[in-house]
């Protein structure tokens, strides 16, 4: 099983730019809620809503760099060898503002960060021999 993990390096800045909703339709309802319905053919299948509370403060793994500057990640029983790459197209992180306003037509997002680089990893299974690994 291949598992690609991309770690995206954000750079935070104060951007004045806003993403402002002018007119609203039912698709935007799903956009705001962070869920989607598989019945619409614009979406690519059901999304799992991750239980975000369960991940908080959890350890993920160890990140090392070899002498060529390539990242190596160890997550559980896997070693992941990776590369640092530029994103083909930058990603911007947008954060909802004025959450107290219930009016859907007023939803605004601020631009909080820009992501230009990623570390991309693929797995290779690594056998763990011998003693148990204590993972916190």
């Amino acid at each position: 099983m291949l598992l690609f993990v991309l770690i995206c390096n954000l750079s935070f800045k104060n951007y004045n730019s806003r993403i402002i909703t002018i007119t609203y339709n039912y698709w935007l309802q799903y956009f705001y809620e962070g869920k989607c319905k598989s019945s619409s053919n614009q979406f690519q299948g059901d999304l799992e809503t991750k239980s975000e509370e369960a991940l908080g403060s959890k350890l993920i793994g160890d990140l090392h760099f070899n002498h060529e500057g390539h990242p190596i990640m160890i997550i559980g029983h896997h070693i992941l060898h990776g590369k640092v790459q530029d994103l083909d197209k930058p990603l911007v992180v947008i954060t909802k503002e004025n959450d107290n306003v219930p009016d859907e037509n007023n939803v605004t997002y601020g631009v909080t960060a820009v992501i230009k680089k990623k570390m991309i990893f693929k797995t290779r299974p690594k056998p763990i021999v011998g003693e148990m690994i204590k993972k916190l």
């Binding site: 770690i7 730019s17 500057g69 197209k89 909080t112």
Partner: protein, 386 residues
């Protein structure tokens, strides 16, 4: 419990690596206590131009339309707004000194690295040509038939702000389209100038010129403004001038094609299909002095059907056709089975975008054939039985 360097080194060794294989600084990745909520924080993929636009402080505008269609607009461009799902897990974390910039530290160190959240979805923006027919349709609900025909004391129509709200296009694209179509701002609200009114406007000016035995070339824009100042309000007059005249410094010329088309649009709808001999006669006779009607000017407005007896002229204005390419071509080919490029271009041109020009669109959505060295386009789907 905190993860220790010893634990990290142990795992490293189990992974068949030693500390000499790696740089001295290692990181432990850990989610922050409250990771980012995808309802609140989202990822938007942008191209380089859009990133520069955002960095300059400009805003983007999300506009929902009927059904699920959503666009996002800058000040001058329109993009389709789509959700993309990836099977990868995207972990977000702040900038790390990825490998190259890590200072060669003396001793082996372990640093904590926060991870803000994990994502499987991001949003894409795909540059698109906005469907602006809705603009004309919206304004057509408030036709202007002349200052003396106004029914209400209050201003009717749509303000520019209202237009920006309901039309899924950028401000600049809306403004450009308002200039192209016969729309005018009357008492602060936008409306569509009625065809009958426009016909009357041009005919009135023509009658003044005939009376004074002058041609349009012999008068100045100021003359026209003065004379037409009695006919209607200044903003409407200047819009009509821009629609139907070429103004070069102080000299004027009729825009032949625009005037011919206007007159065809005025004469045809009554009967929908006009006996072509009668039509061409009436058409030419009604023309202002100095304007010759050419059959080519009917391109995009009407079709001449020579196959029927008597031959007919059918009313078929481009702006009444659907904006979906397949729907539009279906109607066009039902009206006429084979089209030359020249005849079909005015109907297809408005549907082109950066990627596909008229020829490319026709290659993709229609079938072409060669008759006596002339290229004709016909329907990909309907087989003609004639």
């Amino acid at each position: 419990m905190e993860r220790t360097l010893q634990q990290v080194n142990t795992i490293l060794n189990l992974a068949k690596l030693t500390e000499s294989d790696i740089k001295k600084e290692s990181h432990v990745l850990q989610f922050i206590p409250q990771i980012l909520d995808s309802k609140q924080v989202k990822l938007l993929e942008v191209n380089k131009d859009t990133l520069e636009y955002i960095k300059s402080g400009e805003c983007l505008f999300i506009k929902g339309g009927e059904d699920a269609h959503v666009v996002v607009c800058s000040n001058s461009k329109t993009f389709e707004f789509k959700e993309a799902e990836t099977s990868n897990s995207l972990l977000l974390m702040p900038s790390l000194n990825h490998g190259k910039l890590i200072e060669a530290t003396e001793s082996r160190t372990l640093k904590k690295q926060e991870v803000f959240g994990v994502y499987h979805t991001y949003y894409e923006m795909r540059l698109t040509k906005p469907k602006l027919q809705s603009l004309r349709n919206a304004l057509a609900k408030y036709p202007y038939k002349g200052k003396n025909s106004e029914l209400s004391k209050d201003a009717v129509g749509l303000s520019f702000t209202e237009l920006k709200n309901i039309i899924q296009a950028s401000e600049e694209e809306i403004i450009n389209r308002l200039e192209e179509i016969p729309a005018a701002k009357i008492r602060g609200k936008w409306r569509l100038l009625d065809v009958g009114f426009l016909f009357g406007w041009v005919s009135y000016l023509d009658s003044i010129l005939r009376e004074k035995q002058l041609s349009l070339e012999e008068v100045t824009p100021l003359n026209v403004e003065d004379w037409m100042g009695l006919y209607d309000i200044a903003d409407v007059n200047s819009k009509c001038m821009s629609l139907f005249m070429e103004v070069d410094d102080d000299s004027l010329k009729w825009k032949s094609a625009a005037v011919s088309q206007l007159f065809a649009l005025y004469l045809l709808p009554e009967l929908r299909a006009f006996d072509s001999k009668d039509f061409f006669t009436a058409w030419q006779q009604s023309m202002p002095v100095g304007v010759t009607a050419n059959e080519e000017d009917l391109n995009g407005v009407a079709l001449v059907d020579y196959d029927s007896t008597p031959s007919l002229v059918k009313y078929l204005p481009e702006f009444e056709l659907p904006e979906d390419i397949n729907e539009r071509l279906d109607i066009l080919f039902r009206n006429r089975t084979k089209w030359t490029l020249q005849a079909i271009t005015p109907y297809v041109q408005p549907l082109t975008d950066n990627n596909l020009n008229v020829a490319a669109l026709l290659t993709k959505y229609a079938r072409s054939s060669n008759i006596n060295g002339v290229k004709y386009y016909s329907s990909k789907y309907i087989t003609q039985t004639e």
